[in-house]
């Protein structure tokens, strides 16, 4: 057949664990397994398109494939934003299994196909944790605190516990925490080293679930359809394998990070059952709010299915 070079857009930098153990690894595996029938030109760090424009870029032929941060595309992929809700998965592996199941068949997959792209594989970040200069336990502890959140779901998470969700651009979070402008931050632990937040906080939770984040690798549907069937199968198979690999790598890395932070004298703590119950109870509101906002057919069913998949 004819060799196909796909332009693949990515908003993550190549030094991020998601790129090393996920995107880059998958591209190399596909190139090798297809004997060069498919190869990639990788455009990391938003070089080809801004994070919110990646989906459009694939549709318009600027790119052929992209690693989407689905929460950036909540207006075209509302149902996929279910993964952002707090209180569901407790590890990247658990969340990734659930996401892969939902991408295989059902409304999340249909939504992506309707947007003109075919999902190859998806994975999640480990659940968001709370980082602060004091230990935050019961929902009451959060009252009136200024908490950095990103996006509406997280802002609602903060509000459900009586805190204030504050939007601050990523690059300014470090300075804002250091100088006390923020009391706490909701953050995926794997990204903490990137922003060096461990330099400026003293307490990090390890078993909370303050929201999730999903990545989905997509290829433009009309291009994917024209690929030979065995190539399609290889991409999907290697995708499924990569998804679980990057999830496990992140879980392991978080474990390593926690040990390292502990050695640095940071209080890395687990919530007690009473605290978890109090937090989960408060955060129920967020799911209700999501259903009202999305206001789409089948949203309720998606939520139930997601709950079932992450209870395993």
């Amino acid at each position: 057949g004819i060799a196909e070079t796909l332009r693949l857009g990515d908003f993550q930098s190549t030094s991020h664990i998601v790129s090393i153990e996920g995107t880059t690894r998958w591209m190399a595996a596909v190139e090798e397994a297809t004997g060069g029938a498919v190869s990639f030109q990788h455009f990391p760090s938003q070089q080809a398109a801004k994070s919110k424009a990646q989906l459009d870029a694939v549709n318009n032929g600027i790119l052929d494939a992209a690693l989407l941060g689905t929460l950036y595309h909540a207006e075209s992929l509302p149902l996929n934003s279910v993964v952002g809700l707090p209180g569901f998965y407790s590890s990247a592996q658990q969340g990734t299994k659930a996401l892969q199941a939902m991408l295989k068949e059902g409304p999340l997959r249909e939504e992506l196909l309707a947007a003109g792209v075919t999902p190859i594989f998806g994975f999640v970040l480990p659940p968001y944790q709370v980082l602060a200069k004091k230990r935050l336990g019961l929902a009451e502890d959060w009252k009136a605190l200024d908490i950095r959140t990103s996006g509406s779901t997280q802002a609602m998470t903060a509000r459900s516990m009586g805190a204030v969700g504050i939007s601050i651009p990523g690059p300014e979070v470090y300075t804002a925490v250091e100088r006390g402008r923020l009391d706490a931050v909701l953050f995926p632990l794997a990204s903490v080293p990137g922003y060096k937040l461990n330099e400026v906080v003293s307490h990090i939770s390890t078993n909370g679930s303050f929201g999730g984040y999903s990545f989905v690798m997509v290829v433009r549907s009309d291009l994917f359809k024209d690929l030979p069937e065995d190539v399609q199968a290889k991409m999907l198979e290697l995708g499924a394998e990569t998804a679980m690999h990057v999830a496990k790598a992140q879980d392991d890395s978080v474990e390593g990070l926690v040990t390292q932070w502990k050695d640095e004298g940071i209080d890395t703590y687990t919530f007690s059952d009473a605290e978890l119950a109090s937090l989960t109870d408060s955060m129920k509101l967020v799911g209700q709010d999501w259903l009202e906002r999305i206001n789409a057919d089948g949203a309720e069913a998606v939520l139930e299915n997601y709950r079932a998949l992450t209870s395993k």
Partner: protein, 429 residues
């Protein structure tokens, strides 16, 4: 490659025949994209390019700091403050330009963006130098070069982006920037000294009179209070660096209202001028983003850096080659575009060669900053020109001696990593 060179010639042609720089870069970038990807994708890039380039909270610092400077200037606050400095050091040749450098360092501790800093100094310090018969080319060059201090001295947007892209400690990068920043400022002062002694571009002011100097000093108080207030707000945790710019506007407004030194017309002219400068800057940033996008799709920097990372030349030669590529990119691109395009390859290469990540960050930042002073895309010179009305050619000529100094500082930083790493190592105990 031939297409690429042809397009560069086209860009040069457009610019020489005085097409506005923003338009020329956008047009050439667009044509390049069309040739590279096809017309449909090229058109699609235009869909949201203005929105994506302007819809950013971090950008608010630019119009707000310009507005702050415009208010203070039209309310006569800066003139009086600089007059006070003039009374103290005006009898030294080039003294006022050196005072401008000192103010740039102070402003740099406040601002994380080069363009915002340059615009503020161009609006406030430049008119004073002109009033004291400084040559336009020197005065405009000093504010352009002084502006680059903003990203070396913390806080700095460029250092933060580098830190995030490469997972290097932002705290250490900030501390590491202090000494190179002061070194650059000293270099600036030295060049001013030489120019003042050898030419008549920086005349001597009135002879020194202690009484007059002491009496004039009270005019420094409002500016001093404003500085302390705004820096205090950032370091005291009241506001983030972007938000602090808004506090600065409020503070300046209060000062000029209390002094009753501004009219409604003055107010609206200030706002209008701030918008004018911002629109010009965003237009250039947007259109050069189209060009940078084209450059990303040509994979030329990728190929060059890949060559650097795979060749078996000595490590110093590879480093020099990479710095050279960054310098050339700086002629055509915005700093943040350069970082995102080059760091994915340049950083791992530097690490593989065994260089220190913090030191490399300062070197890279310094290198891309130099790009703000070089034609054709030299954003600081553009901002200074737009704000002061001095012709671009004049400013670029005025910048030449300072550019040589910047290169010397860069080489010094490259040869003596201790200069950069000494302070951070001290902090770590």
């Amino acid at each position: 490659m031939i297409t690429f060179l042809a397009l560069l010639c086209l860009l040069a042609l457009f610019m020489v025949f005085r097409m506005p720089i923003a338009f020329a870069m956008g047009l050439v970038g667009f044509i390049g994209l069309a040739l590279q990807l096809g017309w449909r994708p090229a058109f699609a890039v235009l869909e949201r390019i203005f929105f994506d380039s302007s819809s950013s909270f971090i950008l608010v610092a630019i119009p707000l700091f310009i507005l702050m400077a415009e208010l203070l200037t039209s309310g006569d606050v800066t003139r009086r403050a600089i007059h006070a400095c003039q009374c103290w050091i005006g009898h030294v040749k080039g003294g006022l330009a050196m005072a401008t450098v000192a103010s740039s360092v102070l402003l740099a501790a406040l601002v994380g963006s080069s363009t915002a800093s340059t615009a503020a100094m161009a609006a406030s310090a430049f008119p004073e130098m002109r009033n004291h018969n400084y040559a336009d080319r020197l005065a405009a060059a000093v504010v352009s070069v002084g502006g680059t201090l903003a990203v070396v001295v913390p806080p700095s947007i460029v250092l933060v982006v580098y830190g995030v892209l490469t997972e290097t400690s932002i705290g250490q990068l900030f501390i590491a920037g202090i000494v190179p920043g002061l070194l650059t400022a000293s270099g600036l002062a030295l060049v001013i000294k030489i120019i003042a002694t050898r030419t008549d571009q920086a005349p001597k002011g009135d002879p020194f009179q202690l009484g007059k100097a002491v009496k004039a000093s009270r005019h420094v108080i409002p500016m001093g209070l404003l500085m302390v207030g705004v820096i205090g707000a950032i370091y005291g945790g009241v506001a983030s660096p972007s938000e602090a710019a808004a506090l600065g506007v409020m503070g300046s407004l209060i000062i000029v209202l209390v002094q009753r030194s501004i009219t409604f017309v003055g107010l609206s002219t200030s706002v209008s001028a701030a918008i004018r400068a911002t629109v010009m800057i965003v237009a250039i940033v947007t259109c050069s983003a189209i060009f940078a996008n084209y450059l990303a799709f040509t994979r030329i920097t990728h190929a060059l850096l890949e060559f650097a990372s795979t060749t078996d030349l000595p490590r110093a030669a590879i480093l020099a080659f990479m710095v050279l590529i960054l310098l050339v990119m700086g002629m055509f691109m915005d700093q943040l575009a350069i970082l995102s395009l080059a760091m994915p390859l340049a950083f791992p290469t530097a690490m593989a060669l065994g260089y220190d990540p913090v030191w490399f960050g300062i070197v890279v930042t310094k290198t891309v900053e130099i790009g703000l002073l070089t034609p054709p895309l030299g954003l600081n010179a553009y901002v200074a020109s737009a704000q002061t009305g001095v012709a671009l050619g004049t400013i670029f000529r005025g910048i030449v001696p300072f550019l040589l100094m910047e290169l010397v500082v860069l080489v010094v930083l490259l040869c003596f990593p201790e200069i950069t790493l000494w302070l951070p190592s001290l902090m770590l105990g």
